[in-house]
């Protein structure tokens, strides 16, 4: 099973990289660009067939290592 974990800064936490990207898009002439946020995508292959078990393993991975939940949220997608 393949999983995709997306880690994003929580809303309200300043994201200077997202801001810099937004400003660069403006400089390139792209109009109507609103708030830009940058995050991380982590793809993981799991030797697991049960979706629920996979999900709970992945949550544990996120809590322990993949995200710092003081400032980041995570979302898990299974394929």
């Amino acid at each position: 099973m393949k999983a995709r974990v997306t880690v994003m800064l929580k809303s309200g936490v300043l994201d200077p990289q997202g801001k810099a990207i937004g400003q660069a898009l403006g400089r390139l002439g792209f109009e109507n660009v609103g708030d830009v946020r940058q995050g991380k995508v982590i793809e993981i292959e799991l030797a697991e067939t049960d979706q629920n078990r996979a999900r709970s393993k992945l949550s544990e991975m996120c809590e322990k290592l993949l995200a710092n939940t003081v400032i980041e949220n995570y979302a898990i997608e299974l394929k």
Binding site: V13, L14, P16, N68, V70, I71
Partner: protein, 223 residues
């Protein structure tokens, strides 16, 4: 004082801090590799040095926080063994949860390497007894991720309980850190994490000795 310095892959201030400890203490600290399973017995102090452990992969300090040696570091911390975390060491302490909050990317996105002035907020701890309360000291910073952040409740608690150890002087905050925080203690004040590098201002040859008092304070408290 029996001290140990933990060396991670890409630590780069481990030998500097060992020199500062040796000068203050008269004998060198033990250097402990991150893959060792345990620390030497009867340690009085554990130091997590500055650097870029694991190339700052994922988040600064995140990989080092799960190094094999950290299990024993956390166990000793819970027994009350004092810990000093400098720069990357501070990031590792936050990632392990031994200190609250997190060190985010500098607000201006630039790596900053220069001297800054900060005030000694919580004097009379084992780390700061040789300073005067409120003393203004000059210590260099060198980091890309030193922007201290915690939720409002945590920040209020840190300030209320006297856990803010050092604060950048107003107007000299190099990274956007919340409430100008440069360093914090745990609740029992046995653990100190700070972004500036006291070991870089601990010898007259370096042009300034404002950081030396941290090592002298530790030696007199723990010997």
């Amino acid at each position: 004082m029996k001290a140990a310095v933990v060396v991670f892959p890409a630590s780069n201030c481990d030998r500097d801090v060992a020199t500062a400890l040796t000068q203050a203490n008269g004998s060198p600290p033990k250097m402990v590799w991150h893959q060792d399973a345990s620390l030497p017995d009867d340690l009085d102090l554990i130091v997590l040095p500055g650097g870029f452990s694991y190339g700052d992969y994922l988040r600064c300090g995140a990989m080092a926080a799960h190094s094999p040696i950290m299990r024993d570091v956390i166990a000793r911390a819970k027994e009350g063994t004092p810990i000093l975390g400098i720069c990357n060491g501070f990031q590792v302490l936050c990632e392990t949860g031994l200190l609250p909050g997190v060190l985010m990317r500098n607000a201006h996105l630039k790596f900053v390497s220069r001297d800054v002035h900060m005030t000694v907020e919580g004097a009379n701890t084992m780390f700061t007894a040789r300073y005067k309360p409120g003393q203004r000291i000059n210590i260099p910073v060198a980091h890309g991720d030193g922007n201290y952040f915690a939720d409002k409740g945590t920040l209020d608690r840190l300030e209320g309980e006297g856990q803010v150890a050092f604060r950048y002087v107003e107007g000299e905050n190099p990274n956007g850190a919340a409430r100008n925080i440069a360093g914090i203690y745990n609740e029992k004040r046995t653990i100190l994490g700070l972004m500036p590098h006291p070991e870089r201002h601990a010898d007259p040859l370096l042009g300034c000795t404002d950081g030396k008092a941290i090592f002298d304070s530790l030696v007199s408290a723990l010997s």
